[in-house]
């Protein structure tokens, strides 16, 4: 059982207050949706949750089986897809996959890679440099990299950005399956995506 617990999180950039006193708890089998107008701090909150950013104030605790998981231990359990997270475009999809799986301590499973690529509609592009991918294909590949290690906590910022209808459908299936027994946190304003959240945080600008 995994839990993400935020208590009175506050974020300022210089003197500008982005948000304050944001608290929530989300556990395995549940999901949280973060919404709010542009500039309200959705992405900032996502970055704080996955420890890319330190909050100005407040406490964020991630627990796995009731044990606190430190920032140094979290890497294999986290998956993030967001517009600001880029892949290595001079490497091929397979080289990216190989790097991501090895650094996470997973064994390089080529049949699994091929099946993931096929599922995400990227069949036959495995050995192409990522810079030759369209923005939609890049977004699909980001999902492949984020879920390859079956993360306990999946964070998705703008889940269907750049995706066509088929791509969005695969994302919805993924989010549905993730929230069954793991933690799903998504940041979105799309009405059809808000329903994936069991709990909702609305940030105000």
């Amino acid at each position: 059982m995994w839990t993400v617990e935020a208590t009175d999180i506050c974020q300022r950039f210089n003197r500008r207050l982005i948000f304050e006193k944001v608290s929530f708890t989300v556990s395995s089998g549940h999901s949280l949706v973060i919404s709010g107008p542009n500039g309200s701090g959705k992405t900032t909150l996502v970055k704080i949750i996955c420890q890319l950013l330190r909050p100005t104030a407040g406490r964020l605790l991630i627990k796995g089986d009731d044990k606190i998981v430190t920032p140094h231990e979290i890497y294999p359990y986290l998956g993030l897809v967001g517009p600001y997270l880029q892949l290595y475009t001079s490497l091929t999809a397979f080289e990216n996959y190989s790097f991501f799986s090895r650094i996470r301590g997973c064994t390089l499973d080529i049949p699994e890679f091929k099946s993931l690529m096929e599922r995400w509609g990227l069949k036959n592009r495995e050995f192409d440099e990522v810079r030759t991918f369209s923005s939609g294909m890049m977004q699909r590949l980001k999902y492949v990299m984020a879920i390859m290690h079956k993360p306990e906590i999946l964070l998705v910022d703008e889940p269907t950005a750049n995706l066509d209808e088929d791509g969005s459908e695969i994302v919805y299936e993924l989010m549905e399956s993730q929230k069954k027994d793991k933690v799903l946190i998504l940041a979105t304003n799309e009405p059809e995506e808000l329903k994936f959240g069991d709990e909702k945080i609305i940030l105000n600008s």
């Binding site: 970055k47 996955c50 890319l52 950013l53 330190r54 140094h72 890497y75 294999p76 986290l78 993030l80 600001y84 997270l85 880029q86 892949l87 290595y88 475009t89 001079s90 490497l91 080289e95 790097f99 991501f100 090895r102 650094i103 996470r104 301590g105 997973c106 440099e129 290690h149």
Partner: protein
């Protein structure tokens, strides 16, 4: 999922950087072109004049220092410019990233030296009296230079005007390497033994260890926003 050791993870980061560099060849081209250009300029301006070791040693270190400054920063700047730094932050710990990149810069600097030092000696008509101490001084000096360059690269990658800042920040911190490196090189060119060059070697080695230790302690604060 198995837990990887620090060294193993750093090696994976190093291999990734080597792979990316192999595709773009940015840092390799910058360093080697700078070194070759400087070497050619010095060689032409000197003509047939035979320089003494007091001049040759500083010239060699100036070439090595500025060549490394022209390319070693790229290891972190590339991650920030291509927005892959956050990806890396999500994948592994700061010390793994630092060690992987430090190792990459070391390999790059050693490759430069393997090519440039013999060419420099040949073009300048220099004779090395004690090749053993000479190689050790260059090797340990590069260790320090790569350590400084990697740490400063991490700092300046977050700033604008990266190119100008790099050399300016790296120069004062690299001074102990340059002073001892130049003195040790000069001594070995004149036929000095290991025991005569020991004070320089000790400074170079201690400095490298101090910078590496400090980097590992401080890097997390630089790397995490």
């Amino acid at each position: 999922m198995k837990k990887l050791s620090l060294i193993h993870s750093a090696y994976i980061v190093f291999l990734k950087d080597l792979h990316v560099e192999f595709r773009s060849r940015y840092a390799v081209n910058a360093i080697f072109l700078f070194a070759i250009t400087t070497l050619t300029a010095i060689s032409f301006s000197m003509g047939p004049i035979r320089l003494r070791s007091e001049i040759l040693a500083p010239l060699l270190w100036i070439i090595l220092f500025f060549s490394s400054m022209s390319g070693l920063a790229h290891i972190f700047v590339r991650e920030e410019e291509q927005q892959t730094a956050d990806t890396l932050r999500l994948l592994t710990s700061p010390n793994v990233v630092f060690l992987g990149k430090w190792f990459f810069n070391m390999v790059l600097l050693f490759s430069l030296e393997i090519l440039i030092v013999p060419v420099f000696l040949a073009m300048m008509g220099a004779v090395v009296g004690s090749p053993g101490p000479f190689i050790v001084v260059i090797f340990i000096g590069s260790l320090g230079l790569a350590s400084v360059a990697t740490l400063i690269a991490a700092i300046i990658s977050q700033a604008s005007a990266k190119g100008a800042l790099f050399a300016v920040l790296a120069f004062p911190i690299s001074l102990p390497v340059l002073i001892s490196g130049i003195h040790g090189t000069q001594l070995s060119m004149n036929g000095g033994t290991f025991s005569e060059g020991m004070p320089d070697l000790q400074v170079l080695f201690s400095f490298s260890i101090v910078i590496l230790t400090l980097s590992l302690l401080l890097f997390e604060f630089i790397w995490r926003k």
